[in-house]
Symmetry: C2
Subunit: 366 residues, 2 copies
């Protein structure tokens, strides 16, 4: 255990902390839509697939963990939904003669996440006990076979780190002038894909140890189709738009060439095929379902989109460029996105980002 | 469970956060001495009294919790000692054929505690998994029968709140012009004693639910003898000294009378007799031992003493008086304590503060 727990993940990308105008807490309505869209699916999954009778440990208490919880409030919605679904199951089924177990919910994120804000915003009325677990979910976080349900929303698109080779000037994978792999050269795309696959392998291996047999994992992951046409746009299109703002600023001398060359976003949006391959390679989990979620709000304003993107990415950008240029970068993005209204229509036929919900179940060890 | 978890404790008294010059993290060497003095006792208690074979739950993992952990670093010393002792026990005894379980350590303090600082200072190399649990230990924090060992050092001297009546001008227990119960009128002393007894009852009742049968609780509590002579001095003497600084400042017009009248420290130091009565009233625990600890460093400087007191009390004072007078209050205290050198000699024969370590074990439910 010691070795696994001592793995150092040098990079972490916390969402903007506190509860100010640019905080994640105030600017995560888009992600909230995602959690809300998954609500029914999760309810149904628990009712149909979470088999309390066959779980490998006695259920005096049920342990639920949200991985990549940030500072709230979406995490509270997500875990409340899970706790309520399990309570309902206890009340409605024939083992309801047993006392309903107590719930402990673990809120996990990087140690650099603003846990103080998270803890102060815990719902005062709640039917679960709560704990925070700092650390990277690409490593071990919980003792063996102690968690019954894992949940993660919008977090597994964050890589454990930027692939080394893409910042190395002497490597064929050097990602000069670019901040992401979208439409980048083959070596860059491959480096990102490899990093993602390795990270997911670590993630699934750690969770496989921590889940009780029969325990479940609900993962909400943004993905892209296997084939993308040039007329399509996805979440990656927005990263390219953001990149173009930085390129413009570099041309104007507001950002140095070296600074632009050395930043790369640690974000990855797998294709459906890649994602399936990752889950199939890991033998501890059975794939119970993969569904595409649909957001309720199909139309978004440039302001909201900008604030959402900013709350998620400002941490990475600010560390690299300093605080001075943040307003300008995101003002430029806001103008660019406003000038292409189809980008603001999440229901547009060319909008191809796939919001997937993946339901996995932990099998007995071979 | 819901009711118990919804109890609201309106007051919390976090130690000074961050890691600056006046932070608890930088000014808790005195408390560290306490943890160090208890080290051997805890080791021995685990070897002799923590009976792994008879614990009521299967031990795939061991759950340890430190209650009132503050921002570190003392809490890390304390829990490491416990984890190491249990590991040693596994390695040295005949059930060592079983795999050593994994450890999960819960660090608990009020939600207003600076958990961000705590989480960032976790020891990078450690043989346990870690979580933070925000909330008052006078209420429920963990699911039923899930914790194997509780530890608490220097925390149970903090009351859950200042007794209502002592701040009520119309009550016979109004503690006018005073900040504590030391040498105060009978009604004030009684109000504090009642608040303490009620708090300890809540504490023991919550822990009785959360501990597994056979689980242990190690409580380090500062206490005073049943009889105190006028030539004796204790930790309460220091609170009187601090009070005299505020009285002086009130006379000089630096602090208003109303402000002085309305502050009371939520600290209590029980007599040995009171403490025994509290434990004997609760029937879930057997008292395995009560020992007096002896600090290694008997001599302390006025600066260290002042910084220690300040890290602990500044939170309460600052909230009440504002930040402006903090330096002056503690400068005055520093001078007063320097002018009475026996106060700086923790080994002096009139120094009567008792540093107790109490070892309790959880019995089966009646």
């Amino acid at each position: 255990m010691e070795d696994k727990m001592n793995i150092e993940f040098p990079e972490s990308y916390p969402m903007a902390g506190g509860d100010g105008a640019h905080s994640y807490a105030q600017n995560s309505k888009y992600q909230r839509g995602y959690v809300e869209a998954a609500k029914e699916m999760i309810m149904e999954a628990i009712v149909k697939k979470f088999d309390i009778k066959t779980l490998s440990t006695p259920l005096n208490s049920i342990f639920v963990a949200d991985l990549g919880c940030s500072t709230g409030p979406n995490t509270f919605l997500a875990v409340q939904n899970i706790v309520d679904a399990i309570e309902l199951k206890y009340q409605s089924e024939d083992y309801c003669t047993r006392e309903i177990p107590e719930f402990q919910v673990f809120f996990n994120d990087h140690a650099s996440n603003d846990f103080n804000t998270l803890f102060k915003s815990f719902p005062p009325k709640r039917n679960y006990l709560a704990a925070g677990v700092p650390g990277s979910f690409y490593g071990r976080l919980f003792p063996k076979a102690t968690i019954h349900i894992f949940h993660s929303s919008n977090s597994l698109n964050w890589l454990s780190k930027v692939p080394n080779e893409i910042t190395n000037k002497t490597s064929p994978a050097w990602n000069k002038g670019r901040i992401h792999y979208t439409n980048a050269k083959k070596e860059v795309v491959e480096a990102y894909a490899t990093q993602y696959a390795m990270g997911m392998e670590s993630f699934l291996s750690a969770r496989g140890e921590e889940l009780v047999v029969g325990g479940m994992m609900v993962l909400l992951i943004a993905a892209v189709p296997d084939v993308i046409l040039s007329s399509d746009f996805t979440i990656c299109t927005h990263l390219e738009l953001l990149e173009s703002c930085l390129t413009d600023m570099e041309k104007m001398g507001l950002v140095s060439e070296a600074k632009l060359d050395s930043i790369n976003l640690p974000l990855y949006f797998p294709s459906l095929k890649e994602l399936m391959a990752v889950f199939e390679r890991n033998r501890r989990f059975s794939i119970e379902s993969i569904q595409e979620l649909s957001l309720q709000d199909k139309q978004v304003s440039p302001q909201t989109l900008t604030l959402t993107l900013r709350a998620g990415l400002e941490g990475v950008f600010e560390k690299h460029f300093g605080n001075d240029i943040m307003d300008e970068v995101f003002d430029r993005y806001s103008k660019k996105v406003a000038s292409t209204p189809i980008y603001l229509n999440l229901g547009h036929e060319n909008q191809k980002t796939l919001l997937l919900s993946v339901l996995l179940k932990c099998k007995p060890n071979d």
